[in-house]
Symmetry: C2
Subunit: 215 residues, 2 copies
Amino acid sequence: MTPDTTDVKTDRRRARTRAALLQAGEALFSAQSVDAVSIDDIVLAADVAKGSFYNHFADKEALACAIAGAVRAEAEAEIDAANAGVIDPARRMARAQAVFIRFAVRNPERARAMVRLFASAPLPNAPMNRGVRADVAAGLASGDFRGLTVESGVLMAMGVATVAVSRLLDEVEAAPATALCRDLIFGLLRGLGLPEPAARVLGDEAVDDIFRETH
Amino acid sequence: MTPDTTDVKTDRRRARTRAALLQAGEALFSAQSVDAVSIDDIVLAADVAKGSFYNHFADKEALACAIAGAVRAEAEAEIDAANAGVIDPARRMARAQAVFIRFAVRNPERARAMVRLFASAPLPNAPMNRGVRADVAAGLASGDFRGLTVESGVLMAMGVATVAVSRLLDEVEAAPATALCRDLIFGLLRGLGLPEPAARVLGDEAVDDIFRETH
DNA sequence: TGCAATTCTGACTGATTAGTCCAATAATGA
DNA sequence: TCATTATTGGACTAATCAGTCAGAATTGCA
């Protein structure tokens, strides 16, 4: 009766199955729309029976949400890690952009799935953008950023990040990611009102630092 | 035999059914993904028989492409009309952004469909962005824009436009479109390197002019 | 009015799908 | 070792869907 005895150690079987479903969904959603992927496709790719799918998720949408949440959490964690201890709002902004782009370049499949799954409910004030909003607000308060509302600043940052990722996921990547990244972060910071030399320096610093970090 | 005799005046019946299908598809695609809309849904909404659908389009994708093309052409035409005779690249850019946003605000359904249908094959060098690219290149050549590549400039412009439209289609429109529009165009021009006072003036001018034009 | 050309119609088919259900299975605790 | 429990697997069903086709309807023309 005590569900604890079973729940506590019960199963890593369950966790394994769930992970397989998430991974299969990630791979499939990176290539096709949610509606175009059938649950049969998913369980086939995950090497799991159909009944098991419904044991973990109510339907396809639930799986898609779980995947979107997981990917977003992963990207968010990387950003938070890179910005731990960084106080200057403009520098935080630059680093966040660089990390986000790096994430997409390093995990193109996950990023593709993220883009697709956010196409449904994308921009508003998703938890992921709380950080962006806070940095924009702080930058405006400190005077680093000037001349626009928090709302507009957030939108610009999101627009640049979105467009950068979409561009870098278009395999036609003649341009190296870092060069584009430098330019876009520079342009974003300048657009937010940072003086030009500082915008260039912070953008380059962030790209150099973030893209060289672990490797 | 002479196909002309029939083709020339033959049918506005055909045109009517085609238009009905396009309109129905527009309405449905503005609310649901392409895969989520069935051909039965479309012919029901268009009040047309299923056979007629295949008389005009090979499949659902063909309809979606036709719709995307039509909407894009309409937006493009408005931009071209607003920029006829305007030479200054920065001013052209500002006006194009304002017109694009105005188009989305005035035709939310069409805009929603456009956003959804471009989510598939969005950014690269679609014909629509030729104009943007030309203006960015001209601005860089004239020295109005500074410090970044054409590619980056185009991406920034597209990012701002995309994010603005997405934001304004989120019915939670606490902010009036024009205020957001002013801010975003200002931020974009400043990001592209235009001196700050000019960016502000051009943005405000464009918004005032475009949003008051016909009404 | 009647003929010819073409589009429209909607019932039909074969295939696919989401979701159900219960017997087989594996893990745990005593 | 054995009983208990939850997970798993995959066959099954009912519904939906894309695409077809032969006849009806409409239009242009003589």
